[in-house]
């Protein structure tokens, strides 16, 4: 059994080290995972709260809903009198450089948009990164929850289905509008199927 002895001689350090490293990682993961998850959920809740300031409670009404080929929990927000305020979910789509993840909120009838917050984006600094600016996001607040159109110019203060693009960041602006267009229709359908809206 020279070969077995040889094998052990050569590799005992690697095997022991791999075991120790694995153990160390498992312990660290067990210690930090709850905190990491809390951070992620906390951020989502913070953003939903910004979009729906009167909301007091968020409840998952459709867990892991498949909307536009992405899986997301759909949350229903209720105020302190248990009245429905609206629905929120995470919409994902391709941006200029990377994926863009948005927290999108609609009102309780899914008739009007309540706006969006950027959960993750890696757009070009100074150009695409301006999708987080208030005037751009403001155009979505109160807009009809239907098909949105991107316009190269026009009045950004007028609330309608026309969204004025960011100068120098057409791709990023388009990406945001595309995320809305691909998600809102399907969300509506799923909410209707569940009897959550008429």
């Amino acid at each position: 059994m020279r070969s077995l002895k040889h094998f052990v001689e050569q590799s005992w350090l690697l095997i022991t080290a791999a075991f120790c490293c694995g153990l160390l990682l498992a312990l660290t993961n067990a210690a930090l995972k709850p905190r990491i998850q809390r951070n992620e959920i906390g951020e989502l809740y913070d953003k939903m709260k910004t979009l729906m300031p009167q909301a007091k409670q968020f409840k998952v009404v459709i867990p892991q809903a498949e909307i536009a080929a992405n899986k997301t929990d759909v949350y229903e927000a209720t105020d302190d009198k248990q009245q429905a305020v609206g629905f929120a979910f995470v919409g994902t789509g391709s941006g200029f450089a990377d994926k863009i993840k948005l927290v999108i909120a609609v009102d309780k009838d899914c008739g009007k948009l309540l706006g969006f917050e950027v959960l993750f984006s890696n757009e070009t600094p100074g150009f695409g990164s301006r999708i987080t600016e208030d005037w751009f996001r403001g155009q979505f607040v109160g807009a009809p929850a239907g098909k949105l159109e991107l316009a190269k110019g026009g009045d950004a203060e007028k609330i309608d289905e026309q969204i004025v693009a960011l100068t120098g960041a057409t791709v990023s602006s388009e990406a945001v509008v595309r995320i809305f267009n691909s998600h809102i229709g399907e969300l509506k359908k799923q909410l209707q199927e569940k009897g959550l809206i008429k």
Partner: protein, 209 residues
């Protein structure tokens, strides 16, 4: 693997990493994080601290097991050690500094392939005793962090008018004269600033001689 080197000056080992063998300015190692995370000082400092933790731990572990290493398995052992500490650092950043984790994106996990760390494991820790390896790790990480922070201060100042998120130059919109120079926050700004800084360091080194 060779035994301990006879006489090594610990102080000089430490300072070598900061100036004479600065990983960024003199050895040009670890260019990926140097260019990618230096748009602002905060992420640059976080990256520097993560590299410090990983480099120190990997140098300690590699130095302790240097006499047990089989030559053909050593790179495997280095990578295993480094990857473990990087994953731990990444989990810590995600748990305690989620904003920084977002700002740094994939660059914390990418420390695994940072040449400085495997380079020091091979060039120093696997040949020297524990104290030398610790001093070397500390010197190199301080040098790396220092280089990243200098680069990031220049870029943040010109790209956003702030340093460590503290406003220094007043933007034109708020009564000042400064127009943020967006290119400095982008990769182009990283290359230009690094090039100019390298030139400056070369001039200083030549003068000293």
């Amino acid at each position: 693997m060779a035994g301990d080197v006879k006489e090594v000056n610990l102080g000089r080992t430490f300072t070598a990493g900061i100036w004479d063998q600065n990983p960024v300015f003199r050895l040009l190692l670890g260019m990926c994080p140097t260019l990618a995370v230096t748009a602002a000082v905060k992420p640059a400092l976080t990256m520097g601290l993560c590299v410090t933790f990983v480099l120190l731990c990997s140098n300690i572990v590699v130095s302790l097991m240097r006499n047990l290493l089989k030559p053909h398995l050593r790179i495997l052992m280095f990578t295993l050690t480094i990857a473990t500490f990087v994953t731990i650092a990444d989990m810590f950043v995600r748990a305690y500094a989620p904003d920084m984790s977002k700002a740094l994106g994939p660059y914390v996990p990418l420390i695994i392939v940072n040449c400085i760390i495997i380079g020091r494991a091979e060039a120093c820790a696997s040949k020297n005793n524990l104290f030398v390896s610790i001093m070397d790790g500390l010197g190199m990480s301080v040098g790396f962090t220092f280089a990243l922070c200098i680069l990031a201060s220049v870029r943040e100042l010109l790209g956003a008018g702030t340093v460590f998120e503290y406003p220094v130059l007043m933007a034109a919109g708020e009564g000042g004269w400064f127009v943020p120079w967006a290119a400095m926050s982008m990769p182009a700004g990283a290359f230009i600033t690094l090039g100019l800084l390298l030139g400056l360091i070369n001039v200083i080194t030549k003068r000293k001689k």
